[in-house]
């Protein structure tokens, strides 16, 4: 059968429509529940409650710090995984991706056993006067642990898919490897960096299990918005719903903003020579 792509729209079989629509209902209905059940008259007074603004401030501080830390160590790691061959690379890649599938609470326990007072690195940290559990730094570390794979995965894929001739040209023109990385490689993978960064940030913002397990729960110190939601739900469900709405709005706003500016170019292949 010969058809021109424009003339005939492909018929989507019901076999695909029904489960796809089911998936959509599964995702959208709970969000609708949140919006429908929200005590709208109380939204403003609840959101301006000092306890909530404190958690919001802490959440923003921690999630952006986690994003910064992820960029600092995740981009070089992505480059290493994409460009350098070394023994055991498959294992390293698996380890990097593990936090994606690990239950966050398990991540929190693992962090405790590594960086806690009696953890593997505990004596070392103690000697350096660094205390991570029960501190904001600990919350940032927990968020970075779960957010890092999103960034690394995205950037590694982009670097591996780059046309290396750009970098080779820059190198033959006399640029050193670091300069090539900073002025050629990074700009070429900027869309992947933004997309991975957005996902990592959103994951950090929503982090709960690893944070409460590793860093504890103290208002102003480690109680980020998801922890506040959890504890409010026990005591004051209406307030919990309002804070959940706030998280939903912040995440949605960021994703929409990024989609417009950054995520769309992802569809075209980065770094293809004209």
């Amino acid at each position: 059968m010969i058809t021109t792509p424009k003339a005939v729209r492909p018929r989507v079989p019901a076999l695909l429509w029904i489960p796809a629509a089911g998936a959509l209902v599964l995702i959208v209905l709970p969000l609708a529940g949140l919006v429908v059940r929200a005590p709208w008259a109380q939204v403003l007074p609840r959101l301006t409650d000092p306890a909530v603004t404190e958690s919001l401030r802490l959440s923003l501080v921690c999630s952006f710090a986690a994003l910064g830390l992820s960029l600092l160590v995740g981009v070089p790691l992505a480059w290493l995984l994409a460009r350098v061959e070394f023994p055991g690379k498959a294992l390293v890649r698996a380890a990097v991706l593990l936090p994606l599938v690990l239950p966050p609470v398990v991540g929190g326990v693992a962090l405790l056993l590594a960086f806690g007072r009696n953890g593997l690195a505990g004596p070392l940290l103690d000697a350096a006067g660094v205390r991570l559990p029960f501190t904001t730094a600990g919350a940032v570390l927990a968020e970075t642990f779960v957010a890092l794979p999103f960034l690394t995965l995205s950037v590694e894929g982009a670097i591996a898919g780059l046309d290396r001739r750009h970098e080779e040209v820059a190198a033959t023109l006399g640029s050193g490897p670091l300069r090539v990385f900073g002025t050629v490689t990074l700009p070429l993978v900027a869309p992947a960096l933004a997309a991975g960064g957005a996902l990592a940030w959103a994951r950090a913002l929503g982090e709960f299990g690893a944070t409460i397990t590793f860093a504890g729960n103290l208002p102003g110190e480690t109680q980020t918005l998801p922890l506040a939601v959890y504890l409010l739900l026990q005591d004051d469900p209406d307030a919990a719903i309002v804070v959940s709405l706030l998280l939903l709005a912040v995440s949605a706003a960021l994703l929409i903003a990024l989609r417009a500016r950054w995520l769309s170019p992802l569809r075209s292949r980065p770094g293809a020579l004209p």
Partner: protein
């Protein structure tokens, strides 16, 4: 286009069917004449109820209690949201009375006194609540929304001490875990928690004048489909056999 509404309806039906199916499994069916009772119980009851379970099943053939342990407030929130449960036991009467008509006729079946939990052998020499203000101690408490956290603050208030905890844990068992892992030096928990932790933690007594008695009520959840079995379980929790189990594990009885 004309099929779209039908498709959407079918999708909704599929999801609802899925949800109902899961719900039915969760509430326990009477397949083969066996009844599963879902019991929501305060975290501090974990060891006692688990230990008493085989005896209960022997005495009540065909009934299998299934426990879900969490902070009392969390359990109450689950009941308020309509979780399919048959019995709820909380660590305080306030949480239970907050449930109103969602439960029927709560009765107190156990009591518990507070203790300070410290590392085994009490290496930091904690002698009482006043010591918890010491700068060299990392202290954790249960969150004020959790009964154990509220009682701890009442006791500290009676002792006239102002403690700044490093973390407000989501339930009392998490406080014990912090001590066990060595992340915290001291925490205020129930006597039963210290008993349950065995050699992993030591307990420091809190004098009666400062201490607070937690009263544990149990009630049948109003929406239960196994009212008779649920009521029998509630009654059994005041029986001499279960009281013996309670006192062996650091609880008191009313």
């Amino acid at each position: 286009m004309r099929g779209r509404a039908r498709v959407a309806a079918a999708a909704c039906a599929a999801v609802v069917a899925l949800a109902l199916g899961t719900g039915a499994c969760a509430s326990g069916s009477a397949a083969g004449g066996e009844t599963t009772l879902t019991v929501l119980a305060a975290a501090s009851l974990t060891e006692t109820l688990n230990a008493a379970k085989p005896a209960y099943e022997r005495e009540h053939p065909g009934v299998k209690p299934r426990f879900s342990f969490a902070g009392s407030q969390e359990l109450a929130a689950q009941v308020r949201q309509g979780a399919p449960a048959d019995v709820i036991a909380t660590a305080d009467e306030r949480t239970m009375s907050g449930l109103g008509d969602d439960v029927t006729k709560p009765s107190v079946f156990a009591t518990n006194r507070l203790r300070i939990a410290v590392a085994p052998g009490n290496p930091k020499r904690v002698r009482g609540l006043a010591d918890l203000t010491r700068k060299d101690l990392t202290v954790v408490l249960a969150a004020p929304t959790v009964p154990a956290g509220r009682y701890a603050r009442q006791a500290l208030g009676r002792a006239g001490v102002n403690v700044a905890p490093r973390s407000e844990e989501k339930d009392v068992k998490s406080v014990v875990t912090r001590i066990r892992l060595g992340e915290a030096d001291a925490g205020i928990v129930y006597g039963s928690d210290v008993a349950a932790a065995g050699k992993a933690v030591s307990g420091v007594a809190i004098p009666d004048a400062q201490n607070v008695t937690a009263r544990y009520p149990v009630a049948v959840v109003s929406t239960t489909e196994h009212r008779e079995h649920a009521q029998a379980l509630v009654t059994w929790m005041s029986s001499p056999a279960f009281r013996k189990e309670l006192t062996a594990r650091g609880f008191g009885t009313p």
